[in-house]
Symmetry: C2
């Protein structure tokens, strides 16, 4: 499965009326708090890996807690990477085990995600603490040959929301936050 | 909380009738499969730590899966160590994340544990694959000053089962298996 994602900065109040006018379905809103860990034996920034605990809540009520490992890009073009995700029961215990093994919390990404469905695309309005508002358009395709047309469709969708695909941001929220810190 | 544990080799068929005659309560039997991991950045044998996934089953039906971190001995006398244990949903996913991070399965300990309660002690009849049969007597106490008398009580209990506390084995099952491998 190939995932096509296009992300731009955008004011949500400008985008919502257009989404509604175009008949998009509002799926719902979640809050996500992601804690990224540093490893004691590798620099994840160099190896292009990530280890994260994600706490997800709806209306302040915790709904899911998962630990995720992301491997390095397997293929740059389609942005495919190994991703292993598994639910956990206790953030405190998993954090304590990681800390005992030398993994340390390095950064936190907190955001509110409002999800809409429009045609075959998922449109996500992300409000990221410390970074501001973004709109992300994504779709999956099983056929490598379809990636280009799916991406063009995502660009068209952005344009129909009065957004400019040329302003696409390829850096992750974590990357943007760490870049801010480094300035 | 201090845990007092005394373990000796013993033929279970010799011990069961005595436990019954003494009015011990048979609590139940579980099968445990423990997978111990090596770390990529430390030698756990040197640091006296352990990282383990334990799958527990009753009558072949999986009942619990937990990951456990054991820290080094904090105090030799009372054998106190930090222990962090947390339930997991998927052995495959947690194993895949550990492997991706460089932790490798190093040894497996498989045993059948038959638990009895006698007075304030837990008596466990362990049948360990590759090692044979053991009897373990344990109790917890909150008072450090009570450790000695709790230990004496455990010795008395062993003697009442016709077992000799002088034959106590202080090495873990993992340690015994690894020592066998090294021979």
């Amino acid at each position: 499965m190939y995932e096509v994602e296009v992300k731009v900065r955008a004011d949500h109040d400008d985008v919502r009326p257009t989404l509604e006018a175009r008949g998009a379905d509002r799926i719902g809103t979640v809050e996500q708090v992601d804690t990224y860990y540093d490893a004691p034996h590798r620099d994840f920034a160099d190896t292009d890996e990530a280890l994260r605990i994600r706490r997800e809540a709806t209306h302040g009520e915790e709904t899911a807690t998962v630990v995720t490992y992301k491997g390095p890009l397997l293929e740059a073009e389609s942005k495919t990477r190994e991703e292993i995700e598994t639910p956990i029961h206790s953030v405190e215990d998993v954090d304590a085990i990681l800390s005992a093994l030398g993994f340390e919390p390095a950064a936190e990404v907190t955001k509110r995600r409002e999800r809409w469905r429009l045609d075959s695309y998922l449109v996500t309005l992300d409000d990221v603490a410390g970074l501001g508002e973004f709109v992300e358009v994504e779709a999956e395709t099983a056929a490598e040959a379809a990636i280009e047309s799916v991406r063009e469709g995502a660009y068209d969708l952005l344009r129909s929301l009065d957004l400019d695909p040329e302003e696409q941001i390829r850096t992750s929220y974590l990357g943007l936050l760490l870049a801010d810190d480094a300035e």
